[in-house]
Amino acid sequence: MSVELPMPLSKAPGPSDSPPGHACGSCAVFNVANLERLGVNTASSDFVIALAGNPNTGKSTVFNALTGLRQHVGNWPGTTVVRAEGAFRHQGAAYKVVDLPGTYSLLSSSSDEHAACDFLLFGDPDVTVVVVDATRLERNLNLVLQILQITNRVVIALNLMDEAQRHGISIDTRHLSRELGVPVVPTSARKGRGIPELLEAIAQVAQGRTALKARTTARLAPVVERSVSTLAGQLSAEFPGLANSRWVALRLLEGDPSTERAVRDGSLGDVDRQHSARQRALEAAERTAS
């Protein structure tokens, strides 16, 4: 990932912001001192961060490390079934974090996994942090690749690195990052390792300071590709502002009942309206701040 020096922030400085030199500002240790955990106070956030990932990869541990909350963490898949929300402030910007239930795939059917998928598709988070189990990378990557089809505003938290090391697994994170086109940050959230770097990566993607390389979406056969683009075009015309019309189009072609329902009853459009409402609120908040 390309680490640029953070730009001077126009927002009101926090209490611990003595005038930092640039060298200081780019240092993760300095930045974690700048982390203000806001707990459940999610009012007026500048950015929305979604935490996604396979079950039992430590999403809730990362969530707790970021927000200072103590969301129940259990060593079994399915501990989180309802999405939890928290917040933190980092370098003057307020972030709302949404901890999603674990899911193996965006194509699944149980209602907790569906909630996760819907939020990624229609909640349109500013950054999606995919928490990945470093000891089971291949299986975890399937979800990562699916999410990358929806959005490229993604940061990969390569979690459980301590366990991976114990099992003799080493991962070339720079290569992985190049392959995926998004930042990859090794973490051991349980021990708090890698959290400062993760914060920095989130901030960079949220503020558009990292050049994200749009990954060429899964190579589709030409005939499928044609159908997807046709349908995606029609969807965009009907639901302007739908962020991932190609994904919705593919789901429709597959005949996914819940996507068909969302099109029929117009809830695709609703989500869109909700989103623009949020956008307007954020803009208003920014105006009052400045």
């Binding site: 103590r70 003799g168 070339d172």
Partner: protein, 471 residues
Amino acid sequence: MSAPRILESATRLRAELPRGFADDVVASIYDDAERIVRHSVTSDSKRARLGMDQVLDRALTHRVWGFVVMGVLFYGVFWFTIVGAALPSDLLYTLLVDKGHSSLRGLFVDLGAAPWMTGLLIDGVYLGTVWVVAVMLPPMAIFFPLFTLLEDFGYLPRVAFNLDRVFAKSGAHGNQSLTMMMGYGCNAAGVTATRIIDSPRERLIATITNNFSICNGRWPTLILMGTIFVGTLVPAPLAGLVAAGAVVAVAVLGIVTTLLVSWVLSRTVLRGETSVYTLELPPYRRPQVWRTIYISLVDRTLKVLRRALVMAAPAGAVIWLISNVTVSGPSLAAHLVRAMDPLGMTLGLNGIILLAYLVAIPANEIIIPTILMLTMTLGPLQYGVQGGVMLDLPEAQAGTVLIQAGGWTLLTAINLMLFSMLHNPCSTTVLTIWKETGSLKWTATATFLPLALAFAVTATTASVARLAGWV
């Protein structure tokens, strides 16, 4: 282009596509993942996947040993809880109930407070509240951290794995064993956790049967009954072991009930195929002991205690009021108890217990304190024990109150344990079921089916015990 037109267009385009194109899309993702991993991950095969996890799994998920270990572990947890809670419970009792109550009472009298005020605040609110603390705090402060340590270690999914076979046979979803275990903390949480079950049919079964997982609020009842009535049947050194055995027996009976009710439901009103499911066994992790103890104390124990206190304070006031507001002679509570006594006796319980369950519908946590307070004031009059003399607090340890003032027998205690395990869910859980199912019919089923079962089972044990001449 309108929504129906888009759907039509999708159908038309789909017809032109090769069969199974969706599988190709998924397959290409898998290929991609495989290729990326091949290029960025190196694995030192000598150190890879050390055997510890496998050795543990071979024992903990063994067809026979798995169940043995499960039994020993849970038995150990309860034994430790019961033995460890005895001393602090006594201390809290002496400090808060005995000394605290009499000195506060004295203070109020010295200050010249009106008798009704002293009664309502000290004999009602204060006593109800501190009794909850003395009864609940010590066992919870031991039980929760132990349970959380097992959870952190990664043991719960192994239990789910072991139980999967039996759950499948009863027509339920394998994940139900996980939601069942969530219910051991709180049934409302257990009901919410059923979202991990995809099939609506199996999710309903899991929702309805979650009640038979004994929750936070009910463990103290079982532990107290086991300690006072069952543990005392054997010589003192064995008391803790036997008491723990009684608690485990009721918990196991809860699992059996869960399976039986699931079996009946899946063969009658909720018929259907059992769905296939996959459960990922997480790695064993060394629990962060101190952190776990701290968090489970602060988050679980204190949270549950706070909920109990919030419920206990008003309940204490209600109990004092119904015990002191008289209607043509006897108090309101006495009337109610007398009215419910025939049913209570048929069930091997008594009118006070049934009244207590009515008062405690908002929260099961306050059952024991409610029973104790009602028994102290009404017991001697109602059951004619000890010639209607009110007990003095110093000698009013829970066991003394129940036996001497309430006329309790072993049957009362055992049936209270059974009733506690079976009866209707608390109001919070009922609300959660309503929210999750959105159906009045299923909410009512989940509420009244357990209650009917509780009546049926306790009535049966009571008649058997009486016919056999045990009581």
